[in-house]
């Protein structure tokens, strides 16, 4: 559409120039005599030449114009990104992937989650990060290798944390020597600190390796529910009516979305 508009504008412009310029330099007779056997009308000749000049100008212009820039990714937030060490090596994706990963069935992502730390040693998997009690989080994944010939290679695993605004605020890379069976992948030296300045809401954890996205999971950073109803639900998943008062209390405070995220 843009090309058509450009061509039309160029043609109109050429028409005006030609009708003024050619007679002035004495070339009109030469050109129009040559064309007269094909296009007898003078006006049609002018229009035809204008169209040709317009087309040449349009496509000439397009060839020298820069191509459309690739879609920009959301910028990283400098303040938070600087707070977390980001290895320089992760800026570019690995260019030499292990050749053994062509068969997807040989390697499975079994689990992807976030581990939370409340003190120096306590890490728990969760989908709700309580902003009041959690000090830091780190990603965790479990890969399953089920074919011996696909084991014993080092695979760089990349984790990204994306905040509720879609901004990637943390990236880390873990080189993992894949072995047969389960391979637990947790960054040992890098974690994402949780403070009251962290944006509350729904976050994403993405994992990628070997030029491929392996999965994404979601979790919430917010104030946790003040209690649980687990104790009032039996092993057969039936309700214990003694928990009704507690359930009413929860119902008054939280929306359905809160409960599904909690």
């Amino acid at each position: 559409m843009k090309t058509l508009v450009l061509w039309l504008l160029s043609s109109v412009f050429s028409y005006v120039i030609l009708i003024r310029l050619l007679p002035a330099v004495g070339l009109d007779n030469t050109i129009f005599l040559a064309l007269s056997s094909y296009i007898p009308s003078y006006a049609d000749q002018i229009v035809a030449i204008s169209a040709i000049v317009g087309a040449v100008f349009t496509f000439g212009l397009k060839s020298v114009m820069p191509q459309r820039a690739p879609r920009r990714q959301a910028p990283q937030r400098p303040a938070v990104a600087q707070a977390v060490p980001t290895p320089a090596a992760v800026v570019n994706r690995p260019t030499i992937p292990p050749p053994t990963l062509t068969t997807e069935q040989s390697l499975w992502l079994e689990r992807l989650t976030v581990l939370t730390r409340t003190n120096n040693i306590d890490y728990k998997a969760t989908r709700l990060v309580d902003i009041e009690t959690i000090k830091a989080i780190r990603p965790m994944a479990v890969f399953l290798v089920n074919d011996r010939k696909f084991a014993n290679f080092t695979l760089p695993i990349f984790f990204d944390l994306v905040d509720p605004n879609g901004v990637m605020v943390y990236r880390t890379m873990v080189p993992v020597l894949m072995k047969m069976g389960r391979n637990y992948v947790v960054p040992q030296t890098s974690e994402f600190p949780i403070s009251k300045s962290v944006i509350q809401g729904d976050w994403s954890l993405r994992i990628w390796a070997n030029h491929k996205s392996w999965g994404e999971t979601h979790f919430s950073i917010r104030q946790a529910l003040p209690g649980t109803l687990h104790q009032f639900i039996g092993a057969d998943l039936e309700i214990d009516e003694r928990g009704l008062a507690r359930a009413n209390e929860v119902a008054k405070k939280f929306t359905i979305d809160d409960l599904l995220r909690a």
Partner: protein, 168 residues
């Protein structure tokens, strides 16, 4: 018009229980070990891939996607790496009548113990409240639990052409 579950902003105590129970069964934190005390099956794990609740239609429904893996010590011959998708649909007069469970991920036509009009799974014998649906206590998770066990029986039937009895 008020519903048994309330609204997205203001849920009822019953819905609080429903959500809690479903999330206990389909935990994304840890796979759940099912202990099968039957001769035709062994213990197996259920690892949840995704659990969602849809409340945009008149009757809310759950979608649960999961895989089943035999426990290491299990003697079960049922082996499937498939992703299963069970849908549990609340009825308009819930909890007086039980939710409907469907196995959405697989074609079960030709199998036993399902209703051919709509594919609803036949999960129990409707004998007494203890054996079947108890409106005061049972939840959608109870139905989902039975649907998982139904799926195990269906996998066994596919391998042997014999539908196992619950007491076997």
């Amino acid at each position: 018009m008020s519903t048994w579950w309330g609204s997205r902003k203001q849920v009822t105590a019953r819905m609080v229980f429903e959500i809690e129970a479903m999330r206990m069964l389909f935990s994304d934190k840890n796979p759940i070990l099912f202990r099968q005390n039957v001769s035709w099956d062994g213990n197996f794990w259920v690892a949840t891939h995704k659990l969602t609740l849809n409340t945009d239609c008149p009757n809310p429904f759950w979608d649960a996607r999961f895989r089943m893996t035999n426990d290491q010590d299990s003697r079960s011959k049922i082996n499937s790496r498939d992703m299963f998708h069970i849908q549990v649909l609340y009825t308009s007069n819930y909890p007086s009548s039980e939710p409907q469970a469907n196995l959405k991920s697989h074609k079960i036509a030709g199998a036993e113990h399902y209703f051919s009009d709509g594919g609803k799974l036949c999960l129990h014998a409707h004998r007494t409240a203890r054996d079947g649906w108890d409106p005061a206590k049972s939840t959608a998770a109870t139905i989902a639990l039975w649907a998982i066990q139904w799926t195990r029986a269906w996998l066994y039937w596919k391998q042997t052409t014999v539908w196992p009895k619950a007491s076997e």
